[in-house]
């Protein structure tokens, strides 16, 4: 792997991250893993409808990236976006409420798993159209530039998006206009059943993106510290007017494309090998080795995360269902869905 920044070793604690920051990242990753596991369980129990694209295995990418962002920065996300939005600050209880179709959900039951948004935290939403968020992210970047802001936008997308026209148009425009957008490809090696290496002749994304004169890095997406450092570099550059950046994080989707996909196309040995590289296990080992975490604290954190998730599910279940007739609401600002002015 062409991973430049796999420079974190178990022996030495990093100088550029505090214990609190690292513990925060660790907790976030566990929260995402727990959210995904719980969502899967509740889906399989028949309590949640629709599609569920889970991200177990990929947690280090959104957490590494979003820990380099401030509250006013923006993200856009995809169909596999639970981790991205939790990393940026979404509360699991309102996410569960969304999955359960409740009025208290982030999108009041109108978006569901694929479209969780929280505009108040710069979470501009997730799109179910592969590559759909790349051009819009350029626009957010342009808007920031127009108003002279110092925010940045992180656009998360999968490897599958890199063969779409929208990817190329967005990169070209982002580069042309030097907008503060960081394109983060969560390369989990598959786009549904299609292996990444069968999507292009010589799959070198950093080189491809470099042809648009956008600086990029390929990082080990199972190393949250490496991801964080790459993100920090890109964010600092974008924030100070240095234009767009690109990060390819090599990661892995531990489960199928969606809940219910037996993932026959993912070889067992490959899955095993990646499972052994679990980013959460890796960070845990580091935190223990550095004396930042004790076994007891780790257990306590696990219990706390479990309680938060449990409370989240309970909150969702206790919340009122979105009333059926609200299906007709919130289409337009100025009109009802029939076009009558309000």
């Amino acid at each position: 792997m062409n991973a430049k920044n796999a420079d974190t070793t178990v022996e030495t604690p990093p100088e550029d991250l505090t214990r609190e920051q690292l513990l925060g990242m660790y907790r976030r990753m566990r929260l995402i893993r727990g959210f995904e596991d719980t969502a899967k369980e509740r889906f399989e129990a028949g309590e949640i409808a629709g599609f569920l694209h889970l991200s177990q295995g990929q947690e280090a990418v959104p957490v590494g990236v979003c820990s380099a962002l401030g509250p006013r920065d923006y993200i856009t996300s995809t169909h596999r976006g639970h981790g991205d939005v939790i990393a940026k600050g979404c509360e699991v209880k309102r996410m569960f409420a969304e999955l359960y179709g409740r009025a208290t959900g982030y999108c009041k039951g109108k978006g569901g798993s694929m479209h969780i948004a929280d505009f108040s935290q710069g979470i501009i939403g997730a799109t179910g159209i592969v590559s759909g968020s790349l051009p819009t992210s350029v626009g957010i970047g342009l808007g920031i530039k127009q108003r002279g802001g110092d925010e940045v936008v992180v656009c998360f997308f999968g490897d599958g998006a890199t063969a779409e026209g929208g990817f190329h148009e967005a990169l070209n425009l982002a580069s042309l206009w030097q907008v503060p957008v960081i394109f983060v490809c969560q390369n989990n090696l598959y786009g549904l059943s299609q292996p990444w290496e069968k999507t292009a002749y010589k799959c070198d994304l950093v080189a491809r993106v470099a042809t648009y004169h956008i600086p990029g890095e390929c990082v080990d997406g199972m190393d949250v510290i490496a991801v964080h450092r790459a993100a920090r570099r890109a964010v600092e550059r974008a924030r100070s007017g240095g234009g767009p950046g690109f990060i390819e994080a090599k990661t892995y989707r531990f489960l199928g494309h969606y809940v219910g996909d037996p993932a026959l196309y993912m070889p067992a040995e490959e899955r095993e090998a990646w499972r052994k590289r679990d980013a959460i296990v890796k960070l845990r080992g580091q935190l223990l080795a550095w004396g930042y975490l004790t076994e007891a604290e780790d257990e306590a954190m696990g219990a706390e995360v479990a309680a938060e998730l449990q409370a989240g599910v309970e909150y969702a279940k206790a919340s009122p269902l979105a009333a059926p007739e609200t299906a007709l609401e919130e289409l337009y600002v100025h009109f009802d869905y029939l076009g009558n002015p309000r």
Partner: protein, 330 residues
């Protein structure tokens, strides 16, 4: 009010210029819109010189990219007016229009606002052939989340465009390539036209004709001819196809008891079908004759003049249909 005659093109430009002066978040984005070219139909000529290239952003040929850019900018409170040179090219940006711009507010549970205007133009009459002469408005009217305006006169063009720019919902603003040079009265003073209010362009007793865009002018000309024959035609221009002012149409049909719907788009599942369905439901019992349409037959726009003329709606086709309808020949 002081009124002068200006072209449809000038009216559109005035609307954009005034809104750009009024609100610094308004900006233009699109292909070939900056000076010295000033837009392929010259609607934006002079604006980049006046406002600079930061407010009039000329893009590469990248419809998905720049429409997506406009959507994203709108999502954080900017007010882009994007220009798609030919409505036919909307296909290149359809995901951004239909899946992103139209849907984000709804699927975010009302969090998002998308104050976006996409200006574009369509229509036949210049031998532009199948990929530069379509009338695709029905696609957008069919997409919940979008508003659709289709002005026929300079007055409407200016007033509707100013409103479109001020609305916080995405608007598909469809001009006509053969209207840019048409002239009409436009007040000097500021005015806007609300969406969802039809304009009765001519009053009459015998037949209601609902027409859109350039076919409004054709219908008005046909109505002159028919008037001399003793047939009195009421011409209703919805101006915005969504929201649609059904009440004005229904009231007119109740008065005249006949309805003809006219548009340049192909007939099958066109906008006219919606008008007919609304009238069938809301003016049932008031209609004394078959409800008919004058539209292009459902074929692509052909190139050769005589082929295009054969399929294109014109004054004579409208007059013939109305005449036969009123005489009980249909």
């Amino acid at each position: 009010m002081a009124v002068r005659e200006i072209t449809y093109r000038e009216a559109l430009k005035e609307a954009m210029r005034e809104e750009m002066l009024r609100d610094e978040t308004v900006f233009l984005i699109g292909e070939d819109i900056a000076d010295p070219h000033g837009g392929s139909y010259k609607v934006t000529a002079g604006l980049s010189t006046e406002f600079g290239l930061d407010r009039v952003i000329q893009t590469p040929i990248s419809e998905q990219g720049f429409i997506g850019t406009a959507v994203g900018a709108a999502l954080i409170g900017r007010r882009p007016i994007a220009e798609i040179l030919y409505i036919d090219f909307c296909t290149m940006a359809m995901d951004q229009i239909v899946n992103q711009a139209a849907k984000i507010r709804y699927m975010s549970g009302g969090q998002a606002k998308v104050p976006l205007v996409i200006r574009t133009q369509g229509g036949m009459g210049r031998s532009s052939a199948a990929q530069h002469a379509q009338s695709l408005e029905a696609w957008f009217v069919h997409t919940p989340g979008l508003l659709v305006a289709m002005p026929s006169t300079p007055y409407d063009a200016k007033g509707l465009l100013k409103t479109a720019i001020r609305l916080d919902d995405p608007v598909i603003f469809i001009e006509h390539k053969l209207l840019y040079n048409t002239k009409g009265p436009v007040p000097e003073e500021e005015y806007t036209i609300p969406f969802g209010v039809a304009d009765v362009k001519r009053e009459g007793r015998d037949c209601t004709v609902v027409a859109t865009s350039r076919t409004v002018l054709m219908t008005l000309a046909a109505a002159e001819t028919l008037e001399r024959e003793g047939i009195s035609v009421e011409v209703v221009d919805p101006r915005t196809l969504f929201p649609l002012d059904v009440d004005t149409i229904v009231a007119s049909v109740k008065k005249t008891s006949r309805l003809v719907v006219v548009h340049e788009a192909v007939e099958r599942c066109g906008f006219g079908a919606e008008v007919v369905a609304q009238v069938a439901e809301k003016a049932y019992g008031y209609v004394d004759a078959p409800i008919v349409r004058v539209c292009a037959p459902s074929v692509p726009a052909p190139f050769a003049r005589q082929l295009e003329d054969y399929v294109m709606v014109d004054e004579k086709k409208i007059a013939d249909k109305v005449r036969r309808l009123v005489r009980g020949e249909i």
